[in-house]
């Protein structure tokens, strides 16, 4: 009887220690994640507050981390003096067009591969090859040809390039979604008389909408962020936010700190939006055949 009591007492103590360790572990985990959040989000915090520093706060020491009188004057200057509005619109237009174009082109292609094994196993190889290609290898011949045709500084010409750059990833993602989709539903629709294309559009698309959303968001933000093609192939009418930021690198960022930080804030807005919209799919999207070859 005594031994039994001892045992349970020892067991209880062990259990308590175990729970303590668990708590400590939990605490450390959250601490670690907190540190990670500070590191990864800190710069954004600083840039936002800097863009709101109206007067001499930027130059103050001891440093002013949160301005006492936040002001939007840098954003105003960005939009009036530096044509920030136009660049923002250009980025928006280009990204939207590329998003739509990527979807329109990738969906049938993915369908072709999922349903009919178009191209055999070439897709993965092609994906890899395309990923290895540095944009610099493409920009030189494309620039020469575009100059010849006179289509630099042209939305559509740029969209064409961006679409192709995203075809591999979009197709790969959509193939994953389509493979999970049972053929029977399509067949049923086709038996009812619609062509394959109509079946695709009216039946399949609504169901793989999440996959298409991922493709759309990905193409949007990839175009928004794109730099090399943007600085070489855009002119005053089509310059994007990424190009705008380069005008603040000379003269030292001290002189134009307000507009520089404001343009960064505007330039990263889509990233925040996309990250939140893709929350659910972030890990799922990658695990869809991506990490398993």
């Amino acid at each position: 009887m005594a031994i039994a009591l001892e045992r349970s007492a020892v067991g209880a103590r062990r259990a308590k220690r175990h729970r303590l360790w668990q708590r400590v572990g939990h605490g450390l985990t959250y601490l670690g994640l907190f540190a990670a959040l500070v590191f990864f989000l800190g710069p954004f915090f600083w840039i936002v507050t800097t863009s709101l520093k109206g007067n001499e706060d930027f130059f103050a020491f001891p440093p002013v981390w949160i301005p006492a009188e936040p002001s939007l004057k840098h954003y105003a200057a960005l939009f009036t003096r530096s044509s920030g509005a136009r660049y923002f619109m250009n980025s928006l237009v280009l990204s939207t067009l590329s998003m739509i174009s990527a979807l329109v082109v990738s969906l049938p292609t993915a369908y072709s591969i999922a349903r009919w094994r178009f191209g055999g196993g070439l897709l993965s190889i092609f994906l890899l090859v395309l990923r290895m290609l540095p944009a610099i290898a493409l920009i030189i011949p494309i620039y020469i040809v575009y100059k010849l045709l006179g289509i630099t500084n042209n939305y559509l010409a740029l969209v064409v390039i961006y679409t192709v750059l995203y075809i591999p990833f979009s197709v790969w993602l959509l193939v994953g979604f389509l493979r999970d989709f049972p053929v029977e539903i399509e067949e049923a629709a086709m038996i009812d008389g619609c062509s394959r294309l109509r079946a695709l559009v009216q039946v399949v698309v609504p169901i793989i909408a999440p996959g298409m959303a991922v493709v759309a968001l990905f193409s949007f933000i990839a175009t928004w962020n794109e730099f090399l093609f943007a600085i070489v192939l855009t002119g005053i009418e089509t310059k994007t936010m990424m190009v705008l930021v380069t005008s603040y690198t000379s003269g030292g960022t001290d002189m134009f700190y307000g507009e520089a930080s404001a343009s960064v804030v505007l330039g990263v807005l889509p990233a925040f939006a996309v990250a939140f919209m893709l929350q659910r799919y972030l890990v799922k999207g990658l695990s869809l055949g991506g990490t398993k070859g």
């Binding site: 290898a137 920009i139 930021v245 991506g290």
Partner: protein, 302 residues
């Protein structure tokens, strides 16, 4: 429905039709330019001189590999940036992924927040960090001086070594979340039963990590590292905005030097040759990497 002209049955032309828009675009935007660029790399097309050019054989390639110290220097710089960046991104990404996998409440939102740096453009990341690195008014120096760690202004680009560190830091900040995501996916695919069984057998957390997590994560890690490796060879926008290759040529990467050749010196043919040297290098790197993987897998299986 048959297309008599092409002699194809519906079953045969339909897949092609569906895939044709992307095939056409790929031909126009990738295949043709690559071929044209390859052709150009054997000429001496130099826009600073004029539109005429002539065939010069392998002269550009010879110059790139044997006579161009700036390009060779940039190859070295690229390697020096890639190595620490890869290691740090892997370790840090693994660490955070492990932490995240232990958390259930709020995981989606924390993940989404942590992922944002990977979703911004390298150009934006570089601009933000460039301002933070600012000698007199930058966040880092200000914080350092406020905390008393720094005495005078520290110049993050004062020497080649320090500027490489600065570049690596920005890249790690920018890309660790991506690595974290990849590893998180890998972690989630490990069946929990394995852990339960090991725990029942009395294995400690550390043992569980070494014998279950790591081995099963190896493939994912390899994929992540390879993707990052390839992406790092293309490093351009970050350099353009953060240092523009400086100080001197200390942070010029291969893509950056090639860009300067083509769009500052106008030596289009030479730049085309350089870009093929880069492609060749990346190809070799990838093949070596995959070969190493295969050897390790074979050894593990044996």
């Amino acid at each position: 429905m048959r297309i008599p002209a092409l002699g194809l049955k519906r079953k045969q032309w339909e897949p092609l039709a569906f895939a044709s828009p992307s095939m056409a675009l790929i031909a126009f935007v990738i295949v043709f330019p690559l071929a044209y660029s390859f052709y150009l790399s054997f000429q001496n097309y130099d826009l600073s001189i004029g539109p005429e050019y002539e065939f010069v054989g392998g002269k550009n390639y010879a110059e790139a590999i044997f006579r161009d110290e700036r390009f060779l220097g940039s190859v070295w710089n690229t390697a020096v940036i890639i190595a620490p960046a890869l290691v740090l991104e892997l370790l840090l990404g693994l660490g955070i992924a492990l932490l995240l996998s232990r958390v259930l409440r709020g995981r989606p939102i924390i993940t989404a927040l942590l992922v944002v740096p990977s979703m911004v453009s390298p150009v934006m990341a570089a601009m933000a960090w460039r301002m933070m690195y600012g000698v007199k008014y930058g966040a880092i120096n200000n914080l350092g001086r406020q905390l008393g760690i720094l005495d005078v202004y520290f110049d993050w680009f004062s020497s080649p070594t320090v500027s490489i560190i600065a570049v690596v830091l920005v890249d790690v900040w920018h890309n660790t979340p991506f690595m974290m995501l990849v590893l998180l996916a890998g972690l989630q695919s490990i069946p929990t039963e394995l852990y339960e069984a090991a725990k029942a057998d009395g294995a400690s957390a550390w043992q569980r990590f070494w014998s279950i997590t790591l081995p099963l994560l190896k493939f994912t890690m390899a994929v992540g590292v390879m993707i990052r490796l390839i992406d790092l060879t293309k490093l351009f926008g970050l350099i353009y905005v953060l240092t523009f290759g400086g100080p001197g040529g200390a942070t010029e990467t291969v893509a950056f030097t090639t860009f300067l050749m083509g769009f500052k010196d106008f030596r289009m043919s030479y730049a085309a040759a350089l870009s093929y040297v880069i492609v060749g290098g990346v190809l070799v790197l990838t093949l070596v990497f995959m070969w190493i993987q295969r050897v390790r897998e074979a050894r593990a299986a044996a």
